[in-house]
Symmetry: C2
Subunit: 718 residues, 2 copies
């Protein structure tokens, strides 16, 4: 069986085959059924030859699968799928199992419900014994309370739903809602994934024009799409069996990562001619391979990053190196610096010396950008006016991290001809150096202190700290920035934070909250996340806080925003995704706004403000997101909650999250504290560094995601 | 630089080069020192070309390294090892760092101690900034209390000690004790490893004849051996530089795994002729490659397994499959069964039917062995007497696991011509089946219920449960078994259990103790461990508990043993390693006794009874190990402690571990309990299954270890 195509570097889609549907008729012969149950190796070889990469086989054997239960005390045939016919590694690798078809714990017949309950447990126990990792189970009713109870207690399940709600006995709910109700009954376990079994007629929620409804599946653990052979069309003009356009488009829309698979089956056609089935597999594979939506990256995601705290921690060389690799960002900075220098020198006299401060210079990328900018002006002048620039530039690099100072000194010697004045200092403590004439007042200050949510690395506080040494005319790059939020749906992100919550409780984990000893709620932190399995619930992104520099009036940096979003019906609010836009100088901007993302930039993942629970809204509703940026003497923190009007007309207000910065608090001062905690932290950093190596790979994915969102956006608009 | 030879499947030893020793003289020129500090890439290339796989370079640069501190307020030269000359991944991969030579926090001069303290922190902080994972530090005094305090708080260190205690200012302690004292001061942190810098004269503790002293290094995280070029001899008859015999033998003895490396340096010779250095590297590599002691496996070890509880859990197919792969074990069983059958049929009449029960048949390996045994007797008879066996064999396979019953039925159909009677039952409940004539009383009962410590999977209790259905003449295979213990030293195993202790406290972990809710001490459990980094403290292994079957007199299976060992001076007791010997029938035995290990058998790792703390004994001492096997209505557990006479003549008695089975309790009954706990446990099982895939690899290693121990043993004896 030529399975596991992924091994060969290249991507080969996973296509499975549901064995039992094909053999439904022969299976009634006891002998034939028992023979097949013992022929798994042969089946693997045969279907592997056709192009399948795994098989789905009834865990209890075929005779038991097709047994018709009667209320006469008869027991079903015993489980018959011998383990010793194949080694356990191969079971795990190539076989998924399905429950016996008659098992229905939610049957209205009490005797069948009871019988189903017992045999469900027995089959699941046997799957565990075999080492089979995944069980496929078809949902039979729009409400399956007893099944949910059973599933909660066991293994991993792939729950299959048709794309037609009426097949599950309802016309009042859509398929997504039926699934949501079911997984909620199952405690939203991360052990559950969902499959869609495409029907010939698709419900309107699966219509591509219905983007707001359809994109909810992006927020679910959709791992499989099941296709019956009868869906394929074999035209005379087209000898290859192909799927109808609507089905093809739906698959293209829904399959967005390489871990998802397609499962084929045939309940009607007998395959005397194996080549037709081969063609169907080929056709399904081509459909996946030609899908531009599929992310290149299929590894496990790096997950959640706590906010960087460059003020209270010293960054290390690896972090600097990673961020320096964002060429796009520095090209924009260079353009902004060039424009500012040009404006500053418009009326400059000969021998004017422009003083330029790079604040938080790190290992020097902005120093380099400033040098480049002046050189560009020089060569332009030379080219246009055949003369040289008459003004000089005095560059000062200010950095508090004493290790990075060593890097700056190296660059100064090796690359900058010792032309840069390097100052080891917190940028908020430069007054004495200016007062004692060690430094001149700057004409231009340049910094890159922004986090994923703009101000979250305390750029406003740092730049305000420089105000005392500025001239009235000093230009600040950046000039201003604004952050934005938008509501999202995502089961996966909610589950991930629940997992973090457990580990945050761990004593080994260092609290990010105000006090080292405070109990820290993972759901009350803002994260930097490369988001996957999520969808935006609205097509708008609303501005939140804005900051302008220089802040000559000394306005407070505390903020309070109340932002309203009208959510569509049948959605589940998980939290709010945050991003920002910065005006570096005049019309030169950088943006992580989903609709205006700066192309090829990869310095920032989105920020995420989670809610403590998932909020399901059956009807359209207006939700208000209330967020505050609070400040005290030592630091800064966000507090947030939501408000909406319930179906009863009552105003619902959720508890304020991260009240008083208990779970997450951004400190204003560097803490030099070598202790066990720091040693432990450095081990965590080592682990994080490994994550960061993943970052470049993720950046690719990120660009892909953004591109896809932009495309979706454009398609929706057009 | 041709580093990382391990990548190419084949094993290439790691050889490092200590840069600063070589350049000590030139380094005094400021210019040259600063030039070298910026030439790391070139150095990597040059030394890589010679055959080195990593470099050790002073973290603060050469000038700072060689600075001579004076008590006049002068500061040392600033750190000078620019990070941007090489990308951070390469720093991590190819560079280890050494602290500046003059740093000595334990200096008797208070000003130097203080200066050292401050600059130690600064250099370590810079190493962290660079992303360098390991710092080399040479011990300067036999007692280094302040250095230990500093090290405790930081990163990973390789602590280098000479093989001559007088170099550290003492003739009263041996080098191992100096190291033990130091790591104890450092809280026995797992972040520390040790290196031995071989001196021309080796202290007597490094003499190969002094095995009891030398083997203590097996129990330490010995990661490096450092050699100065001056140790190599270049004879006229031997053009290749080689090490003296004593040094070669010592390296062969100490280097036992592939993660260990050799570090070369030269403090005297200048290398005008690079080829001599090349030859020294070649010579060091050959020394490692020709070393038969080095274990094949160099991956991280699978670690600790909790005891299997086949009585209270159902094993799964993977576990059965793993154990079935031990051919040697089943060949011995087959021989034993054959001998028993021959004895039983000595006076058998024609048409006698011998009833053979396989108790706990699993998926049937012992059933197969019984069938094979009879077939062998048949063909012997045919060959010798030209006639057929006249007696029949009635095989009954008893198994309580309903899933394994399905496997047995498959084998019965496919391999055993339905000749075997399969009974799903606990072996302790067969009386009713015998009384009702469903089963005949057995002439022979066969079982394989032994764990790593013999009785720990409750074989005595299970077999006693069969007593009511036996005939007076029934033969039991096995007939008897005895377990053994021996004291061991191991920092690594102690550290590993300390780590387990943390995770055992975790609520997600299922308690193995008497009560589900009881607090479980990891140090109070007996483990099954593929041991590494340990040594036996004595050359004897003492018997502990013995059991005989059938137990017709119904003797109690409770046991109490008090075993004495006389430990050598300067050793550190970690716990006791356990193993067993079983007499299957007459002279056919299986053994995991270190000196009598059954060749090629791999079903059992050693058992380990840890102590709660490490016990260091400066003088020879007699330690008594007190161990009890206790039983109550529901299960069985071990309790243990030690006793010895302290240097003050007072008897010391340690607290009884696992009192009342609080931390580990082997249950007598199967618990069918589907709950969240079980679902979680099944996820743990999945993880464990991955470990089990490692098991086969470990078996190889295991055989290696045993072989090595046997070899060492033989060498010592001869």
């Amino acid at each position: 069986m030529v399975m596991d195509g992924n091994k060969n570097g290249g991507f080969s889609p996973n296509i499975g085959w549901i064995v039992h549907r094909d053999v439904a008729n022969e299976a009634h012969t006891v002998h034939w059924a028992k023979f097949l149950d013992k022929s798994i190796v042969r089946l693997c070889k045969e279907y592997g030859g056709i192009g399948f990469t795994f098989l789905i086989y009834p865990i209890g054997g075929l005779r038991r699968f097709f047994w018709k239960p009667k209320n006469n005390g008869d027991a079903p045939p015993p489980i018959h799928l011998p383990d010793q016919q194949m080694s356990t590694e191969l079971w795990t690798k190539y076989i998924a199992c399905s429950l016996s078809d008659w098992i229905d714990p939610d049957s209205p017949e009490p005797w069948l419900a009871q019988l189903s309950n017992d045999h469900f447990c027995q089959e699941v126990e046997y799957a565990r014994y075999l080492g089979v990792q995944k069980m496929l189970i078809g949902l039979k009713h729009f409400s399956s309370r007893r099944l949910a109870e059973l599933i909660k207690q066991h293994l991993h399940f792939l729950v299959l739903l048709p794309t037609k709600a009426s097949d599950l006995g309802t016309v009042e709910m859509d398929v997504w809602t039926i699934w949501r109700d079911f997984r909620t009954l199952c405690g939203n376990s991360a052990r559950l994934s969902v499959g869609l079994s495409l029907t010939a007629d698709l419900d309107s929620e699966f219509d591509l024009h219905n983007d707001l409804a359809l994109r909810r599946w992006y927020a679910e653990p959709l791992s499989s799409i099941s296709l019956d052979y009868s869906l394929f069309i074999c035209g005379t003009d087209n000898p290859l069996p192909t799927l109808p356009k609507a089905h093809r488009e739906l698959i293209n829309y829904l399959m967005v990562n390489r871990r998802q698979n397609i499962v084929l089956s045939s309940s009607t056609v007998q395959f005397d001619d194996i080549s037709r089935l081969e063609q169907a597999v080929h056709s399904a594979k081509q459909l996946i391979l030609s899908n531009g939506n599929i992310c290149k990256n299929d590894g496990p995601m790096a997950g959640f990053f706590d906010l960087l705290q460059p003020l209270s921690d010293n960054l290390d060389s690896t972090v600097y190196q990673t961020f320096e690799q964002d060429v796009t960002k520095y090209v924009h900075y260079q353009r902004a610096i060039k424009a500012a220098l040009r404006d500053l020198t418009q009326q400059a006299h000969e021998d004017t010396e422009l003083v330029v401060f790079v604040l938080g210079a790190g290992r020097g990328p902005l120093v380099q950008a400033a040098i480049n900018a002046r050189q560009e002006l020089e060569s332009e002048k030379k080219h246009n006016e055949q003369s040289f620039l008459t003004w000089k530039m005095k560059l000062v690099a200010v950095e508090k991290n004493r290790n990075a100072i060593l890097s700056l000194k190296y660059c100064n010697e090796e690359r900058w001809s010792n032309s840069v004045q390097i100052v080891q200092s917190d940028m908020r403590s430069l007054s004495s150096l200016v007062d004692s004439d060690v430094l001149n007042r700057p004409d231009l200050i340049i910094s890159e202190l922004l986090g994923s949510f703009g101000d979250n690395e305390l750029s406003p506080e740092c730049l305000d700290g420089v105000s005392p040494i500025l001239k009235p005319s000093t230009i600040c790059i950046p000039q201003s920035y604004t952050n934005f939020i938008t509501p999202i749906q995502s089961l996966h992100l909610h589950q991930s934070i629940a997992t973090l919550n457990r580990s945050k409780g761990d004593e080994q984990c260092i609290s990010m909250g105000r006090s080292k000893n405070a109990l820290c709620h993972a759901s009350d932190c803002c994260y930097v996340v490369c988001m996957e399995q999520f969808c935006f619930l609205v097509d708008t992104v609303e501005p939140c806080f804005s900051f302008y520099h220089p802040n000559k009036e000394g306005n407070s940096n505390a903020r309070h925003a109340r932002v309203r979003f009208t959510l569509p019906p049948n959605c589940e609010l998980m939290g709010f995704s945050g991003n920002f836009e910065v005006c570096l100088y005049k019309d030169i901007n950088l943006s992580t706004h989903p609709m205006r993302y700066t192309k090829n930039m990869h310095s920032w993942f989105p920020a995420l403000f989670p809610l403590r629970q998932l909020y399901y809204f059956p009807d359209a509703v207006t939700v208000l997101f209330d967020i505050q940026r609070k400040i005290d003497a030592d630091g800064c923190w966000y507090e947030w909650n939501i408000e909406y009007e319930g179906s009863d007309g009552q105003l619902f207000r959720s508890e304020v999250q991260n009240a008083d910065g208990e779970s997450q608090y951004m400190k204003l001062r560097y803490e030099m504290a070598y202790s066990f905690a720091v040693a432990d932290a450095s081990e965590q950093l080592t682990a994080q560094r490994r994550d960061e190596e993943q970052m470049r790979r993720i950046y690719d994915k990120m660009s892909d995601c953004v591109l896809r969102l932009l495309l979706t956006q454009t398609e929706t608009e057009s």
